[in-house]
Protein backbone atom coordinates (compact mmCIF):
# COMPACT_ATOMS: atom_id res chain seq x y z
CA UNK A 1 0.00 0.00 0.00
CA UNK A 2 2.65 2.50 1.07
CA UNK A 3 4.77 1.44 -1.87
CA UNK A 4 1.88 2.17 -4.17
CA UNK A 5 1.31 5.62 -2.70
CA UNK A 6 5.02 6.35 -2.89
CA UNK A 7 5.26 5.39 -6.55
CA UNK A 8 2.12 7.42 -7.22
CA UNK A 9 3.78 10.49 -5.71
CA UNK A 10 7.09 9.80 -7.43
CA UNK A 11 5.30 10.08 -10.76
CA UNK A 12 5.97 13.66 -11.82
CA UNK A 13 2.43 14.14 -13.06
CA UNK A 14 1.06 13.59 -9.59
CA UNK A 15 3.39 15.63 -7.39
CA UNK A 16 1.37 18.82 -7.84
CA UNK A 17 -1.88 17.09 -6.97
CA UNK A 18 -0.26 15.44 -3.98
CA UNK A 19 1.17 18.63 -2.57
CA UNK A 20 -2.06 20.53 -3.17
CA UNK A 21 -4.12 17.90 -1.35
CA UNK A 22 -1.58 17.71 1.47
CA UNK A 23 -1.47 21.49 1.75
CA UNK A 24 -5.25 21.73 1.71
CA UNK A 25 -5.50 19.17 4.53
CA UNK A 26 -2.93 20.98 6.64
CA UNK A 27 -4.63 24.33 6.12
CA UNK A 28 -8.01 22.80 6.79
CA UNK A 29 -6.99 21.70 10.29
CA UNK A 30 -4.97 24.78 11.26
CA UNK A 31 -8.01 26.64 12.69
CA UNK A 32 -8.55 23.73 15.09
CA UNK A 33 -5.26 24.54 16.81
CA UNK A 34 -5.33 28.32 16.81
CA UNK A 35 -7.49 31.02 18.24
CA UNK A 36 -9.28 31.92 15.01
CA UNK A 37 -10.66 35.28 16.12
CA UNK A 38 -7.46 36.74 17.51
CA UNK A 39 -4.72 35.00 15.58
CA UNK A 40 -2.76 36.98 13.05
CA UNK A 41 -1.94 33.72 11.29
CA UNK A 42 -5.57 33.22 10.23
CA UNK A 43 -5.76 36.71 8.79
CA UNK A 44 -2.44 36.18 7.05
CA UNK A 45 -3.61 32.93 5.47
CA UNK A 46 -6.94 34.48 4.48
CA UNK A 47 -5.07 37.25 2.66
CA UNK A 48 -2.75 34.72 1.06
CA UNK A 49 -5.71 32.71 -0.25
CA UNK A 50 -7.22 35.80 -1.85
CA UNK A 51 -3.88 36.58 -3.45
CA UNK A 52 -3.59 33.02 -4.74
CA UNK A 53 -6.98 33.31 -6.44
CA UNK A 54 -6.12 36.56 -8.25
CA UNK A 55 -2.59 35.43 -9.02
CA UNK A 56 -3.79 32.18 -10.60
CA UNK A 57 -6.13 34.19 -12.80
CA UNK A 58 -3.28 36.36 -13.97
CA UNK A 59 -1.09 33.31 -14.34
CA UNK A 60 -3.53 31.81 -16.83
CA UNK A 61 -3.81 34.87 -19.04
CA UNK A 62 -0.20 36.07 -18.78
CA UNK A 63 1.78 32.97 -17.87
CA UNK A 64 0.07 30.46 -20.12
CA UNK A 65 -1.49 32.57 -22.88
CA UNK A 66 1.28 35.19 -22.84
CA UNK A 67 -1.09 38.17 -22.78
CA UNK A 68 -0.05 40.56 -20.02
CA UNK A 69 -3.19 42.04 -18.55
CA UNK A 70 -2.81 45.19 -16.48
CA UNK A 71 -6.50 45.48 -15.69
CA UNK A 72 -6.92 42.85 -12.97
CA UNK A 73 -7.57 45.43 -10.25
CA UNK A 74 -10.58 46.63 -12.23
CA UNK A 75 -12.00 43.09 -12.25
CA UNK A 76 -11.25 42.67 -8.57
CA UNK A 77 -12.95 45.95 -7.76
CA UNK A 78 -15.91 45.18 -9.98
CA UNK A 79 -16.40 41.87 -8.15
CA UNK A 80 -16.34 43.63 -4.78
CA UNK A 81 -18.74 46.33 -5.93
CA UNK A 82 -21.08 43.76 -7.47
CA UNK A 83 -21.34 41.97 -4.15
CA UNK A 84 -22.06 45.20 -2.30
CA UNK A 85 -24.57 46.41 -4.88
CA UNK A 86 -26.50 43.13 -5.00
CA UNK A 87 -26.71 43.16 -1.23
CA UNK A 88 -27.67 46.81 -0.83
CA UNK A 89 -30.29 46.74 -3.57
CA UNK A 90 -31.67 43.40 -2.43
CA UNK A 91 -31.50 41.94 -5.93
CA UNK A 92 -31.18 38.17 -5.59
CA UNK A 93 -33.41 37.78 -2.51
CA UNK A 94 -30.99 35.23 -1.06
CA UNK A 95 -28.94 35.33 2.13
CA UNK A 96 -26.22 37.71 0.78
CA UNK A 97 -23.66 37.04 3.49
CA UNK A 98 -21.40 34.31 2.04
CA UNK A 99 -24.13 33.52 -0.41
CA UNK A 100 -22.78 31.40 -3.28
CA UNK A 101 -25.22 32.99 -5.73
CA UNK A 102 -23.94 36.46 -4.93
CA UNK A 103 -20.32 35.35 -5.10
CA UNK A 104 -20.77 33.65 -8.46
CA UNK A 105 -22.62 36.66 -9.84
CA UNK A 106 -19.75 38.84 -8.59
CA UNK A 107 -17.42 36.63 -10.57
CA UNK A 108 -19.62 36.75 -13.65
CA UNK A 109 -19.92 40.55 -13.77
CA UNK A 110 -16.17 40.90 -14.51
CA UNK A 111 -16.49 38.05 -17.02
CA UNK A 112 -19.09 40.04 -18.97
CA UNK A 113 -16.80 43.07 -18.85
CA UNK A 114 -13.82 40.94 -19.86
CA UNK A 115 -15.66 39.60 -22.89
CA UNK A 116 -16.91 43.02 -23.94
CA UNK A 117 -13.50 44.65 -23.73
CA UNK A 118 -11.53 41.49 -24.51
CA UNK A 119 -12.89 40.98 -28.01
CA UNK A 120 -11.85 44.36 -29.42
CA UNK A 121 -8.60 44.53 -27.41
CA UNK A 122 -7.43 40.98 -28.00
CA UNK A 123 -8.32 40.94 -31.67
CA UNK A 124 -6.38 44.12 -32.41
CA UNK A 125 -3.65 44.49 -29.81
CA UNK A 126 -0.63 42.30 -29.19
CA UNK A 127 2.14 42.26 -26.63
CA UNK A 128 2.83 45.59 -24.97
CA UNK A 129 -0.11 47.21 -26.71
CA UNK A 130 -2.53 44.79 -25.09
CA UNK A 131 -0.98 45.51 -21.71
CA UNK A 132 -1.46 49.26 -22.21
CA UNK A 133 -4.98 48.77 -23.47
CA UNK A 134 -5.98 46.85 -20.36
CA UNK A 135 -4.25 49.46 -18.21
CA UNK A 136 -6.34 52.14 -19.91
CA UNK A 137 -9.56 50.18 -19.37
CA UNK A 138 -8.75 49.68 -15.70
CA UNK A 139 -8.17 53.41 -15.24
CA UNK A 140 -11.40 54.29 -17.05
CA UNK A 141 -13.33 51.94 -14.77
CA UNK A 142 -11.81 53.58 -11.71
CA UNK A 143 -12.89 57.00 -12.98
CA UNK A 144 -16.39 55.67 -13.69
CA UNK A 145 -16.65 54.21 -10.18
CA UNK A 146 -15.52 57.51 -8.69
CA UNK A 147 -17.90 59.55 -10.78
CA UNK A 148 -21.06 57.42 -10.78
CA UNK A 149 -21.83 58.68 -7.30
CA UNK A 150 -25.52 57.75 -7.43
CA UNK A 151 -24.69 54.04 -7.78
CA UNK A 152 -21.24 53.53 -6.28
CA UNK A 153 -21.19 56.24 -3.63
CA UNK A 154 -18.20 57.95 -5.27
CA UNK A 155 -15.01 58.23 -3.29
CA UNK A 156 -16.75 57.28 -0.04
CA UNK A 157 -17.99 54.03 -1.53
CA UNK A 158 -20.56 51.60 -0.20
CA UNK A 159 -21.20 50.26 3.28
CA UNK A 160 -22.67 46.82 3.71
CA UNK A 161 -24.14 45.95 7.11
CA UNK A 162 -21.23 44.81 9.25
CA UNK A 163 -23.52 43.54 12.01
CA UNK A 164 -23.64 40.13 10.31
CA UNK A 165 -20.00 39.50 11.23
CA UNK A 166 -19.70 36.62 13.65
CA UNK A 167 -16.39 34.90 13.18
CA UNK A 168 -13.30 34.73 11.02
CA UNK A 169 -14.04 31.04 10.38
CA UNK A 170 -16.19 31.33 7.20
CA UNK A 171 -13.64 33.77 5.71
CA UNK A 172 -10.82 31.37 6.26
CA UNK A 173 -12.55 28.33 4.81
CA UNK A 174 -14.14 30.17 1.89
CA UNK A 175 -10.73 31.59 1.09
CA UNK A 176 -9.17 28.16 1.24
CA UNK A 177 -11.88 26.69 -0.98
CA UNK A 178 -11.56 29.49 -3.51
CA UNK A 179 -7.78 29.11 -3.60
CA UNK A 180 -8.15 25.36 -4.22
CA UNK A 181 -10.80 26.10 -6.82
CA UNK A 182 -8.49 28.58 -8.61
CA UNK A 183 -5.60 26.13 -8.58
CA UNK A 184 -7.86 23.36 -9.89
CA UNK A 185 -9.35 25.55 -12.62
CA UNK A 186 -5.97 26.60 -13.92
CA UNK A 187 -4.61 23.07 -13.53
CA UNK A 188 -7.36 21.43 -15.54
CA UNK A 189 -7.51 24.15 -18.17
CA UNK A 190 -3.79 23.97 -18.80
CA UNK A 191 -3.87 20.19 -19.08
CA UNK A 192 -6.70 20.18 -21.59
CA UNK A 193 -6.73 21.04 -25.29
CA UNK A 194 -7.36 24.65 -24.28
CA UNK A 195 -4.08 24.68 -22.40
CA UNK A 196 -2.19 23.43 -25.42
CA UNK A 197 -3.84 26.11 -27.53
CA UNK A 198 -2.93 28.79 -25.00
CA UNK A 199 0.70 27.73 -24.85
CA UNK A 200 0.85 27.55 -28.63
CA UNK A 201 -0.44 31.13 -28.75
CA UNK A 202 2.15 32.22 -26.19
CA UNK A 203 5.03 30.66 -28.08
CA UNK A 204 4.09 31.77 -31.58
CA UNK A 205 0.75 33.26 -32.45
CA UNK A 206 1.26 33.11 -36.18
CA UNK A 207 2.19 29.47 -36.12
CA UNK A 208 -0.69 28.62 -33.77
CA UNK A 209 -3.13 30.33 -36.10
CA UNK A 210 -1.79 28.49 -39.12
CA UNK A 211 -2.28 25.20 -37.26
CA UNK A 212 -5.93 25.93 -36.90
CA UNK A 213 -6.08 27.41 -33.40
CA UNK A 214 -8.86 29.99 -33.15
CA UNK A 215 -6.66 32.52 -31.39
CA UNK A 216 -9.24 35.10 -30.36
CA UNK A 217 -11.55 32.50 -28.81
CA UNK A 218 -8.83 31.07 -26.58
CA UNK A 219 -7.39 34.42 -25.60
CA UNK A 220 -10.81 35.77 -24.63
CA UNK A 221 -11.49 32.57 -22.72
CA UNK A 222 -8.29 32.90 -20.70
CA UNK A 223 -8.98 36.61 -20.13
CA UNK A 224 -12.51 35.81 -18.93
CA UNK A 225 -11.38 33.05 -16.56
CA UNK A 226 -8.80 35.45 -15.11
CA UNK A 227 -11.52 38.06 -14.67
CA UNK A 228 -13.82 35.52 -12.99
CA UNK A 229 -11.17 34.57 -10.46
CA UNK A 230 -10.33 38.21 -9.73
CA UNK A 231 -14.03 39.02 -9.34
CA UNK A 232 -14.80 36.19 -6.97
CA UNK A 233 -11.76 37.11 -4.87
CA UNK A 234 -13.08 40.67 -4.82
CA UNK A 235 -16.41 39.40 -3.58
CA UNK A 236 -14.81 37.58 -0.66
CA UNK A 237 -12.72 40.62 0.20
CA UNK A 238 -15.85 42.79 0.12
CA UNK A 239 -17.36 40.57 2.83
CA UNK A 240 -14.26 41.13 4.89
CA UNK A 241 -14.07 44.90 4.40
CA UNK A 242 -17.78 45.79 4.70
CA UNK A 243 -16.81 49.20 3.37
CA UNK A 244 -16.03 49.15 -0.32
CA UNK A 245 -14.44 52.23 -1.85
CA UNK A 246 -12.20 52.88 -4.86
CA UNK A 247 -9.19 53.35 -2.59
CA UNK A 248 -9.48 49.92 -1.02
CA UNK A 249 -10.59 47.64 -3.86
CA UNK A 250 -9.48 49.42 -7.05
CA UNK A 251 -6.04 50.09 -5.62
CA UNK A 252 -3.12 49.47 -7.97
CA UNK A 253 -1.72 47.02 -5.42
CA UNK A 254 -4.42 44.54 -6.43
CA UNK A 255 -2.83 44.63 -9.84
CA UNK A 256 0.84 44.63 -8.89
CA UNK A 257 0.88 42.20 -5.97
CA UNK A 258 -0.60 39.23 -7.87
CA UNK A 259 1.76 39.90 -10.77
CA UNK A 260 4.72 39.98 -8.40
CA UNK A 261 3.59 36.78 -6.77
CA UNK A 262 3.34 35.01 -10.12
CA UNK A 263 6.69 36.26 -11.27
CA UNK A 264 8.40 35.55 -7.99
CA UNK A 265 7.06 32.02 -7.83
CA UNK A 266 7.37 31.40 -11.55
CA UNK A 267 4.81 32.35 -14.17
CA UNK A 268 3.36 29.67 -16.37
CA UNK A 269 3.69 27.03 -13.65
CA UNK A 270 0.86 25.76 -11.52
CA UNK A 271 2.61 26.02 -8.15
CA UNK A 272 4.58 29.20 -8.84
CA UNK A 273 1.81 31.67 -7.97
CA UNK A 274 0.99 29.70 -4.82
CA UNK A 275 4.56 29.80 -3.56
CA UNK A 276 4.83 33.43 -4.61
CA UNK A 277 1.63 34.36 -2.80
CA UNK A 278 2.81 32.81 0.46
CA UNK A 279 6.21 34.40 0.15
CA UNK A 280 5.06 37.90 -0.74
CA UNK A 281 2.16 38.01 1.70
CA UNK A 282 4.54 36.87 4.41
CA UNK A 283 6.97 39.64 3.58
CA UNK A 284 4.26 42.29 3.42
CA UNK A 285 2.70 41.13 6.68
CA UNK A 286 6.05 40.88 8.42
CA UNK A 287 6.92 44.36 7.20
CA UNK A 288 3.55 45.72 8.25
CA UNK A 289 4.07 44.48 11.78
CA UNK A 290 7.73 45.29 12.30
CA UNK A 291 8.54 48.30 10.15
CA UNK A 292 5.21 49.68 9.18
CA UNK A 293 6.41 52.76 7.41
CA UNK A 294 9.37 51.52 5.46
CA UNK A 295 8.19 48.07 4.46
CA UNK A 296 7.10 49.04 0.93
CA UNK A 297 10.70 50.16 0.33
CA UNK A 298 11.95 46.75 1.40
CA UNK A 299 9.39 45.14 -0.88
CA UNK A 300 10.56 47.26 -3.79
CA UNK A 301 14.19 46.31 -3.17
CA UNK A 302 13.14 42.68 -2.92
CA UNK A 303 11.34 42.77 -6.27
CA UNK A 304 14.43 44.21 -7.91
CA UNK A 305 16.75 41.67 -6.28
CA UNK A 306 14.53 38.73 -7.22
CA UNK A 307 14.17 39.84 -10.83
CA UNK A 308 17.88 40.52 -11.08
CA UNK A 309 19.17 37.31 -9.55
CA UNK A 310 16.45 34.77 -10.21
CA UNK A 311 14.39 36.01 -13.13
CA UNK A 312 12.66 32.65 -13.57
CA UNK A 313 11.22 32.68 -10.07
CA UNK A 314 11.52 30.28 -7.18
CA UNK A 315 10.29 27.34 -9.28
CA UNK A 316 12.90 28.17 -11.90
CA UNK A 317 15.54 28.28 -9.17
CA UNK A 318 14.86 24.65 -8.39
CA UNK A 319 15.37 23.73 -12.06
CA UNK A 320 18.54 25.77 -12.17
CA UNK A 321 20.00 24.05 -9.14
CA UNK A 322 19.04 20.66 -10.51
CA UNK A 323 20.56 21.37 -13.91
CA UNK A 324 23.77 22.61 -12.31
CA UNK A 325 24.24 19.22 -10.70
CA UNK A 326 24.07 17.45 -14.04
Amino acid sequence: MIDKIYSYIKDKRHTNIFFTVLGALIFAIIPLFTDVEASYLIYFLFLTFIHIVIAQGWNLIAGYAGQISLGQNAFFGLGAYTTALIWLHDITKTGYYFDPVVMILSGLAPVVLAIIIGIPLLSRLRGDYFAFGTLGIGQIIIVVFLKARAITGGADGLHIPSTVYESMMPYYYTGLLLALFAIAVVYFITRSRIGFALRAIREDEMSAASHGVFILKYKVLAFAVGAFLAGIAGSLYAYYLFHINPDSVLNMNWLFYPILMCVLGGTGTIMGPVIGAFFMTAIFSFGDVYFAQTHPIVSGVLIILVMKFMPTGIIGLKDRILSRGK
Binding site: R124, D128, F132, G136, I259, P296, I297, S299, G300, I303
Partner: protein, 293 residues
Protein backbone atom coordinates in the same frame (compact mmCIF):
# COMPACT_ATOMS: atom_id res chain seq x y z
CA UNK B 1 -15.10 86.59 -23.85
CA UNK B 2 -15.91 83.02 -24.71
CA UNK B 3 -13.31 82.99 -27.44
CA UNK B 4 -10.69 84.30 -25.06
CA UNK B 5 -11.65 81.70 -22.49
CA UNK B 6 -11.31 78.93 -25.07
CA UNK B 7 -7.98 80.33 -26.17
CA UNK B 8 -6.86 80.38 -22.56
CA UNK B 9 -7.83 76.74 -22.17
CA UNK B 10 -5.98 75.85 -25.36
CA UNK B 11 -2.84 77.74 -24.37
CA UNK B 12 -2.82 76.17 -20.95
CA UNK B 13 -3.25 72.75 -22.53
CA UNK B 14 -0.26 73.24 -24.79
CA UNK B 15 1.85 74.64 -21.98
CA UNK B 16 1.11 71.80 -19.63
CA UNK B 17 1.28 69.19 -22.36
CA UNK B 18 4.91 70.03 -23.01
CA UNK B 19 5.81 68.50 -19.64
CA UNK B 20 4.13 65.26 -20.71
CA UNK B 21 5.98 65.64 -23.98
CA UNK B 22 9.45 65.73 -22.38
CA UNK B 23 8.59 62.69 -20.27
CA UNK B 24 7.28 60.88 -23.33
CA UNK B 25 10.45 61.59 -25.31
CA UNK B 26 12.39 59.90 -22.52
CA UNK B 27 10.05 56.92 -22.52
CA UNK B 28 10.34 56.71 -26.26
CA UNK B 29 14.14 56.61 -26.20
CA UNK B 30 14.22 53.88 -23.56
CA UNK B 31 11.54 51.95 -25.39
CA UNK B 32 13.44 52.27 -28.64
CA UNK B 33 16.53 50.51 -27.36
CA UNK B 34 15.27 48.36 -24.48
CA UNK B 35 11.79 47.52 -25.80
CA UNK B 36 10.16 48.17 -22.45
CA UNK B 37 7.92 50.89 -21.14
CA UNK B 38 9.90 52.34 -18.29
CA UNK B 39 7.11 52.70 -15.76
CA UNK B 40 9.36 54.29 -13.18
CA UNK B 41 9.84 57.37 -15.37
CA UNK B 42 6.99 59.27 -13.69
CA UNK B 43 8.32 58.46 -10.24
CA UNK B 44 11.75 59.74 -11.24
CA UNK B 45 10.15 62.95 -12.48
CA UNK B 46 8.60 63.48 -9.07
CA UNK B 47 11.90 62.54 -7.44
CA UNK B 48 13.70 65.29 -9.33
CA UNK B 49 10.88 67.68 -8.55
CA UNK B 50 11.67 67.00 -4.88
CA UNK B 51 15.38 67.43 -5.52
CA UNK B 52 14.76 70.84 -7.02
CA UNK B 53 12.46 71.60 -4.06
CA UNK B 54 15.28 70.68 -1.70
CA UNK B 55 17.86 72.64 -3.61
CA UNK B 56 15.61 75.66 -3.31
CA UNK B 57 14.58 75.33 0.32
CA UNK B 58 17.85 74.06 1.78
CA UNK B 59 20.45 75.74 -0.42
CA UNK B 60 18.44 78.54 -1.97
CA UNK B 61 19.24 77.52 -5.54
CA UNK B 62 16.76 78.79 -8.09
CA UNK B 63 14.84 75.89 -9.74
CA UNK B 64 15.83 76.88 -13.28
CA UNK B 65 19.43 77.31 -12.23
CA UNK B 66 19.28 73.91 -10.55
CA UNK B 67 18.93 72.32 -14.00
CA UNK B 68 22.69 72.71 -14.30
CA UNK B 69 23.05 70.33 -11.37
CA UNK B 70 20.00 68.17 -12.00
CA UNK B 71 20.65 67.29 -15.64
CA UNK B 72 24.18 65.82 -15.23
CA UNK B 73 23.20 64.16 -11.94
CA UNK B 74 20.14 62.56 -13.46
CA UNK B 75 22.07 61.35 -16.50
CA UNK B 76 24.67 59.79 -14.24
CA UNK B 77 21.94 58.19 -12.20
CA UNK B 78 20.36 56.87 -15.41
CA UNK B 79 23.47 55.12 -16.63
CA UNK B 80 24.21 53.84 -13.13
CA UNK B 81 20.72 52.37 -12.97
CA UNK B 82 21.24 50.67 -16.29
CA UNK B 83 24.54 49.07 -15.35
CA UNK B 84 23.40 48.33 -11.82
CA UNK B 85 19.99 46.86 -12.44
CA UNK B 86 18.92 46.46 -16.03
CA UNK B 87 22.03 45.20 -17.77
CA UNK B 88 21.41 41.46 -17.47
CA UNK B 89 17.68 41.76 -18.02
CA UNK B 90 18.19 43.78 -21.20
CA UNK B 91 20.02 40.87 -22.80
CA UNK B 92 17.21 38.50 -21.86
CA UNK B 93 14.64 37.50 -24.45
CA UNK B 94 11.83 37.88 -21.92
CA UNK B 95 11.02 41.60 -21.72
CA UNK B 96 8.75 41.08 -18.72
CA UNK B 97 11.78 40.91 -16.48
CA UNK B 98 12.84 44.42 -17.40
CA UNK B 99 9.27 45.59 -17.09
CA UNK B 100 8.98 44.16 -13.59
CA UNK B 101 12.35 45.61 -12.62
CA UNK B 102 10.98 48.98 -13.64
CA UNK B 103 7.85 48.38 -11.58
CA UNK B 104 9.95 47.34 -8.60
CA UNK B 105 12.04 50.47 -8.98
CA UNK B 106 8.92 52.60 -9.16
CA UNK B 107 7.56 50.99 -6.03
CA UNK B 108 10.83 51.48 -4.21
CA UNK B 109 11.24 55.13 -5.22
CA UNK B 110 7.64 56.06 -4.52
CA UNK B 111 7.74 54.66 -1.01
CA UNK B 112 11.18 56.08 -0.40
CA UNK B 113 9.80 59.51 -1.23
CA UNK B 114 6.80 58.90 1.01
CA UNK B 115 9.13 58.30 3.91
CA UNK B 116 11.54 61.14 3.18
CA UNK B 117 9.11 63.82 2.05
CA UNK B 118 5.74 62.61 3.47
CA UNK B 119 2.58 62.35 1.36
CA UNK B 120 1.75 66.04 1.78
CA UNK B 121 1.83 67.92 -1.52
CA UNK B 122 4.79 70.27 -1.90
CA UNK B 123 5.32 73.10 -4.29
CA UNK B 124 8.25 75.21 -5.30
CA UNK B 125 7.51 78.85 -4.63
CA UNK B 126 9.79 81.55 -5.98
CA UNK B 127 9.50 85.28 -6.48
CA UNK B 128 8.24 84.77 -10.05
CA UNK B 129 5.72 81.99 -9.33
CA UNK B 130 2.85 84.44 -9.44
CA UNK B 131 4.23 86.42 -12.37
CA UNK B 132 1.70 86.39 -15.20
CA UNK B 133 1.61 87.74 -18.75
CA UNK B 134 -1.67 88.83 -20.27
CA UNK B 135 -1.38 89.10 -24.04
CA UNK B 136 -4.89 89.77 -25.49
CA UNK B 137 -6.50 88.86 -22.19
CA UNK B 138 -5.08 85.33 -22.21
CA UNK B 139 -3.46 84.61 -18.88
CA UNK B 140 -0.06 82.96 -19.28
CA UNK B 141 1.94 82.28 -16.13
CA UNK B 142 5.64 82.97 -16.54
CA UNK B 143 6.63 79.54 -15.20
CA UNK B 144 4.51 77.71 -17.75
CA UNK B 145 5.97 79.75 -20.58
CA UNK B 146 9.46 78.96 -19.35
CA UNK B 147 8.51 75.31 -19.24
CA UNK B 148 7.53 75.51 -22.90
CA UNK B 149 10.89 77.06 -23.75
CA UNK B 150 12.77 74.44 -21.76
CA UNK B 151 10.78 71.67 -23.41
CA UNK B 152 11.43 72.96 -26.89
CA UNK B 153 15.13 73.47 -26.15
CA UNK B 154 15.48 70.00 -24.61
CA UNK B 155 13.61 68.31 -27.41
CA UNK B 156 15.70 70.14 -29.99
CA UNK B 157 18.83 69.11 -28.10
CA UNK B 158 17.80 65.46 -28.09
CA UNK B 159 16.85 65.54 -31.78
CA UNK B 160 20.15 67.12 -32.75
CA UNK B 161 21.99 64.59 -30.62
CA UNK B 162 20.18 61.73 -32.31
CA UNK B 163 20.65 63.08 -35.82
CA UNK B 164 24.11 64.58 -35.79
CA UNK B 165 26.27 62.64 -33.39
CA UNK B 166 27.72 59.19 -33.82
CA UNK B 167 26.27 57.95 -30.52
CA UNK B 168 22.89 59.33 -31.48
CA UNK B 169 23.04 57.47 -34.77
CA UNK B 170 23.91 54.30 -32.89
CA UNK B 171 20.90 54.79 -30.62
CA UNK B 172 18.64 55.28 -33.61
CA UNK B 173 20.10 52.26 -35.34
CA UNK B 174 19.56 50.12 -32.24
CA UNK B 175 15.93 51.23 -32.07
CA UNK B 176 15.44 49.90 -35.54
CA UNK B 177 17.25 46.61 -35.26
CA UNK B 178 19.24 45.60 -32.19
CA UNK B 179 20.70 42.43 -33.69
CA UNK B 180 22.06 44.08 -36.81
CA UNK B 181 23.45 46.95 -34.79
CA UNK B 182 25.28 44.52 -32.56
CA UNK B 183 26.66 42.77 -35.63
CA UNK B 184 27.98 46.11 -36.84
CA UNK B 185 30.12 46.25 -33.72
CA UNK B 186 28.00 48.51 -31.55
CA UNK B 187 27.91 47.47 -27.93
CA UNK B 188 24.20 47.14 -27.05
CA UNK B 189 24.91 47.83 -23.38
CA UNK B 190 26.47 51.10 -24.23
CA UNK B 191 23.58 52.19 -26.42
CA UNK B 192 21.09 51.15 -23.76
CA UNK B 193 23.02 53.06 -21.12
CA UNK B 194 23.04 56.18 -23.29
CA UNK B 195 19.30 55.87 -23.87
CA UNK B 196 18.77 55.40 -20.14
CA UNK B 197 20.97 58.36 -19.29
CA UNK B 198 19.04 60.62 -21.64
CA UNK B 199 15.73 59.17 -20.52
CA UNK B 200 16.39 59.85 -16.85
CA UNK B 201 17.99 63.17 -17.80
CA UNK B 202 14.72 64.15 -19.46
CA UNK B 203 12.92 63.02 -16.31
CA UNK B 204 15.15 65.50 -14.46
CA UNK B 205 14.17 68.32 -16.80
CA UNK B 206 10.50 67.41 -16.62
CA UNK B 207 10.72 67.17 -12.83
CA UNK B 208 12.17 70.65 -12.42
CA UNK B 209 9.64 72.02 -14.90
CA UNK B 210 6.80 70.30 -13.08
CA UNK B 211 7.98 71.54 -9.70
CA UNK B 212 7.73 75.15 -10.79
CA UNK B 213 4.18 74.94 -12.10
CA UNK B 214 2.33 72.34 -10.04
CA UNK B 215 2.12 71.09 -6.48
CA UNK B 216 3.29 67.47 -6.39
CA UNK B 217 3.27 64.47 -4.07
CA UNK B 218 4.94 61.03 -4.35
CA UNK B 219 1.88 59.18 -5.63
CA UNK B 220 1.63 61.59 -8.56
CA UNK B 221 4.53 59.78 -10.25
CA UNK B 222 2.57 56.77 -11.38
CA UNK B 223 -0.20 58.94 -12.80
CA UNK B 224 2.43 60.96 -14.58
CA UNK B 225 4.01 57.81 -16.03
CA UNK B 226 0.65 56.73 -17.42
CA UNK B 227 0.13 60.19 -18.88
CA UNK B 228 3.53 60.02 -20.54
CA UNK B 229 2.62 56.58 -21.85
CA UNK B 230 -0.59 57.96 -23.36
CA UNK B 231 1.39 60.78 -24.95
CA UNK B 232 3.78 58.18 -26.31
CA UNK B 233 0.96 56.13 -27.80
CA UNK B 234 -0.63 59.22 -29.36
CA UNK B 235 2.64 60.10 -31.00
CA UNK B 236 3.48 56.55 -31.98
CA UNK B 237 5.47 54.21 -29.75
CA UNK B 238 9.12 54.36 -30.73
CA UNK B 239 8.71 57.69 -32.49
CA UNK B 240 10.79 60.29 -30.63
CA UNK B 241 9.45 63.25 -32.57
CA UNK B 242 5.84 62.18 -32.24
CA UNK B 243 6.22 61.81 -28.48
CA UNK B 244 6.56 65.55 -27.90
CA UNK B 245 3.60 66.30 -30.15
CA UNK B 246 1.65 63.54 -28.43
CA UNK B 247 2.32 65.19 -25.08
CA UNK B 248 1.06 68.52 -26.31
CA UNK B 249 -2.03 66.85 -27.80
CA UNK B 250 -2.71 65.09 -24.51
CA UNK B 251 -2.36 68.41 -22.67
CA UNK B 252 -4.95 69.89 -25.04
CA UNK B 253 -7.34 66.96 -24.61
CA UNK B 254 -7.10 67.15 -20.82
CA UNK B 255 -7.44 70.89 -20.68
CA UNK B 256 -10.45 70.95 -23.02
CA UNK B 257 -11.96 67.90 -21.34
CA UNK B 258 -11.77 69.29 -17.83
CA UNK B 259 -13.09 72.65 -18.98
CA UNK B 260 -16.07 71.42 -20.98
CA UNK B 261 -16.91 68.10 -19.32
CA UNK B 262 -15.50 68.30 -15.79
CA UNK B 263 -12.38 67.52 -13.81
CA UNK B 264 -12.44 63.79 -13.18
CA UNK B 265 -13.88 62.88 -16.54
CA UNK B 266 -10.93 64.47 -18.34
CA UNK B 267 -8.88 61.45 -17.25
CA UNK B 268 -11.45 59.04 -18.63
CA UNK B 269 -11.49 60.96 -21.90
CA UNK B 270 -7.74 60.83 -22.28
CA UNK B 271 -7.75 57.08 -21.57
CA UNK B 272 -10.55 56.67 -24.09
CA UNK B 273 -8.55 58.50 -26.76
CA UNK B 274 -5.55 56.36 -25.78
CA UNK B 275 -7.53 53.15 -26.32
CA UNK B 276 -8.96 54.31 -29.64
CA UNK B 277 -5.50 55.25 -30.88
CA UNK B 278 -4.05 51.92 -29.72
CA UNK B 279 -6.80 50.03 -31.52
CA UNK B 280 -7.15 52.00 -34.73
CA UNK B 281 -3.80 53.73 -35.21
CA UNK B 282 -1.19 51.74 -33.27
CA UNK B 283 1.56 53.52 -35.21
CA UNK B 284 0.44 56.79 -33.61
CA UNK B 285 -1.22 59.88 -34.99
CA UNK B 286 1.89 61.54 -36.36
CA UNK B 287 3.97 58.62 -37.54
CA UNK B 288 4.07 57.06 -40.93
CA UNK B 289 3.39 53.35 -41.14
CA UNK B 290 6.67 52.20 -39.64
CA UNK B 291 5.94 49.29 -37.37
CA UNK B 292 8.23 48.70 -34.46
CA UNK B 293 7.77 46.67 -31.27
Amino acid sequence: MNLILTLRVLVNGVLFGTTYGIAAVGLSLIFGTMRIIFFAQGTFIIFFAYISYWLLTLLGIDPYLSLIIVIPASMLLGSALYYGIFKEAAANEDKNISLLLAIGLMYLMENFMLVVWTPDPRSVVTSYTTLVFRPFGIVIPFTRLTTLFIAVLTAAGVFIFLKKTLIGTAVRAASEDVVSTTLMGINPNWVNAVAFAIGIGLAGVAGVALATIYPFDPSYGFIFAIKALIALALGGIGNVYGALLGGILLGLIESLGSFYVGGGWADAISYGVFLLVLIFRPQGLFGGSIKKA
